[in-house]
């Protein structure tokens, strides 16, 4: 319980007793979670552990059976303007007739309000965000002509123009090329430097220590949550993933070595 003694004013996300169920089948069981400001946090756990559901219920997309969620001290629906969301890339139809620039401008719709159309300001913001993810020259492309990595970067750009304080990203590294992966992680670090909080559903245990400074392990229940070097332990991984321990600790060892080398270089 490494996150319980954090002060409320330092927290970006507070989740208390969150339970989500489909029918009588619990997907998340009584989750407590405190996420401090200005960190990169990974949510990890095996398939079906409820990672995506957790993000969705925090965002109010899934109605919980019980539980309270606070973003920067207030209920979610009062803080929407402070939140950026990157859904799973596969959740939309990429054959939709629209351009890259148009998708990115959707990130401004919340701030624009009803009826108003996006104008020059929104356009400029979108172009700037596209530039940041290295996609500016694709701004007029139809979205079906993008590779998986490029699609992901477009989604990221859309989240950037939301100018949020807290970002939620669902598997942004899923099936992207190495260049995109680098680009994304650089961007995430920039966000952190700017004091933003970024929560990422992540499936690659190997890169957790390298990419993130905070980690939450769940498997329906909360297993552990806290700084990576405290909670990303063999024991916790064993609890979260069950039988496949040898494999995991082996991978984790590799990952740790990887980190060491990285730090040497710095």
């Amino acid at each position: 319980m490494n996150d319980r003694n954090l002060e409320s004013k330092d927290l970006s996300i507070e989740v208390a007793d969150l339970t989500v169920a489909y029918g009588d089948k619990p997907v998340l069981w009584d989750i407590d979670l405190n996420v401090p400001k200005g960190i990169l946090m990974a949510i990890v756990g095996p398939n079906g552990a409820g990672k995506t559901t957790m993000i969705k219920s925090i965002l109010g997309l899934v109605k919980p059976a019980a539980g309270r969620v606070l973003i920067l001290g207030k209920p979610y629906h009062k803080q929407r303007h402070l939140i950026g969301y990157v859904p799973q890339r596969g959740s939309v139809d990429w054959d939709f007739p629209t351009s890259v620039l148009d998708v990115v401008m959707m990130g401004r719709y919340g701030a624009l309000g009803w009826v108003k159309r996006p104008g020059k300001k929104e356009r400029d913001m979108a172009l700037e965000a596209l530039d940041k993810v290295g996609m500016k020259k694709f701004s007029d492309r139809q979205i079906s002509q993008l590779s998986g990595g490029q699609q992901q970067r477009v989604f990221l750009a859309r989240a950037l123009v939301q100018e949020a304080e807290v970002y939620f990203m669902d598997e942004p590294f899923q099936g992207v090329d190495a260049i995109t992966e680098r680009a994304i992680i650089t961007l995430l670090r920039e966000l952190r430097e700017a004091g933003k909080t970024v929560v990422v559903v992540h499936h690659d245990l190997q890169t957790v220590p390298e990419y993130f400074d905070w980690v939450t392990l769940i498997n329906v229940r909360r297993i552990a949550s806290g700084p990576v070097d405290e909670v990303f332990t063999d024991e916790n991984l064993k609890t979260a993933y069950g039988g496949r321990v040898a494999f995991i600790s082996h991978r984790k060892q590799e990952a740790n070595e990887h980190v060491d080398i990285g730090e040497d270089r710095e």
């Binding site: 208390a16 169920a21 009584d30 059976a65 539980g67």
Partner: protein, 369 residues
């Protein structure tokens, strides 16, 4: 009941069963709308063949219509393959074209024959007994009855002979392909059956009733059973019931027989939708309300067990905590606590809840599951 009435009902019953058989697989294979597409498109085949042979009773009409049905299926697949439109749009593009051609040809050139657009949709079951089957001068009943009985037999034989192939191809196409069952062959065989059935039934009951009989009874049966054999049997029974009750409703109110039967398939589906054991709305509502309380109690004991013997336990075990952190309203929270107490899962001391051994056990079980 006079003989004509008995014959009409017999025909309707045979049609209903003949439609229900392939219908079960259409519904299970998520191709229910192919019956809609096919039963409309075959009109073109019938009209074209009619222009060639000038005889409405010719078996060539059935063959031509069945071919149009298969053509519809392949056109839909061809459109799908271009990837220019999505699958549902492909169906919606193909059959209106073929049907429109059929309707235009009828209105333009066949105005004075027994082939009009109303008959296409409605059929005229009341007239079915007029066309007699008279081999060697003996009147042994209406032709339609024999045609449909033949089609029913064909469907029945097909399903009995290829039962396990159909079953595998429907529930596990991947496995079917891996053991050498071509999904395409089964698909086309089934679609050919649908076409032939639609053609045979079309003259008597109209295309809309064909669709209703192919979809509604299997859909109703699907809510009542998990067993494929039973689903086929229940579909057939519901089809028969719809046919008979539909006929008598039409008789009493003096309205369209086919329309009335189609309405009855809808009524039987609604009955199943509300009353089916386990999957019906009534039992779903019942279950949901029961689960709501059971699950709430589980949430409560799991929560208490999470924090038991930990420093924060005192704070987390207060009843008013449920309102603040669970975001349950006061009334609901109190009722859950009362129910949990009654089931001896917790005891309350002042406004602090404590787990009993039974509650602890329940929490353990809930989490493991």
């Amino acid at each position: 009941m006079n003989p004509a009435q008995i014959e009409i009902q017999l025909i309707a019953i045979v049609v209903a069963v003949a439609c229900a058989l392939p219908g079960v697989f259409l519904v299970l294979r998520r191709m229910a709308l192919m019956s809609d597409a096919i039963s409309h498109a075959i009109l073109l085949g019938i009209v074209l063949a009619f222009f060639v042979v000038k005889d409405l009773a010719s078996p060539l009409l059935v063959i031509a219509a069945a071919l149009t049905g298969v053509l519809t299926v392949s056109l839909v697949e061809l459109l799908n393959k271009t990837k220019l439109v999505k699958e549902d749009a492909a169906i919606g593009l193909v059959f209106p074209v073929l049907f429109s051609m059929g309707v235009i040809l009828i209105s333009r050139f066949a105005g004075d024959v027994h082939l009009d657009t109303d008959a296409v949709l409605l059929g005229e079951l009341a007239f079915a007994p007029f066309n007699r089957f008279e081999p060697f001068g003996y009147d042994i009943g209406p032709i339609t009855l024999y045609v449909m009985a033949g089609i029913l037999l064909l469907n029945l034989l097909f399903i009995i002979i290829f039962y396990k192939e159909l079953k595998v191809a429907t529930f596990d196409p991947g496995l079917a392909a891996s053991i050498g069952l071509s999904p395409a062959i089964i698909h086309y065989a089934l679609m050919s059956l649908v076409s032939v059935t639609a053609v045979g039934a079309f003259d008597a009951v109209g295309s809309i009733l064909v669709v209703a009989l192919m979809i509604a009874p299997p859909a109703a049966a699907y809510l009542m059973t998990n067993d494929l054999k039973w689903m086929i049997i229940i579909s057939a029974v519901i089809g028969i019931l719809s046919a008979v009750t539909g006929y008598w409703c039409a008789h009493i109110f003096d309205v369209s027989i086919a329309g009335s039967m189609a309405t009855m398939t809808g009524v039987f589906f609604l009955l199943s939708f509300f009353l089916a054991p386990k999957r019906g709305m009534l039992s779903i509502w019942q279950r949901r309300s029961r689960q709501k309380w059971e699950f709430a109690i589980k949430m409560l004991v799991v929560h208490l067990s999470h924090h038991e013997n930990l420093p924060e336990a005192k704070d987390e075990s207060r009843i008013d905590h449920l309102q603040r952190h669970f975001e349950w309203n006061k009334d609901f929270a109190e009722r859950v606590v009362r129910r949990a107490e009654k089931s001896e899962s917790i005891i309350t001391v002042g406004d602090i809840m404590e787990l009993t051994d039974k509650g602890r056990q329940l929490a353990g079980e809930s989490v493991v599951k």
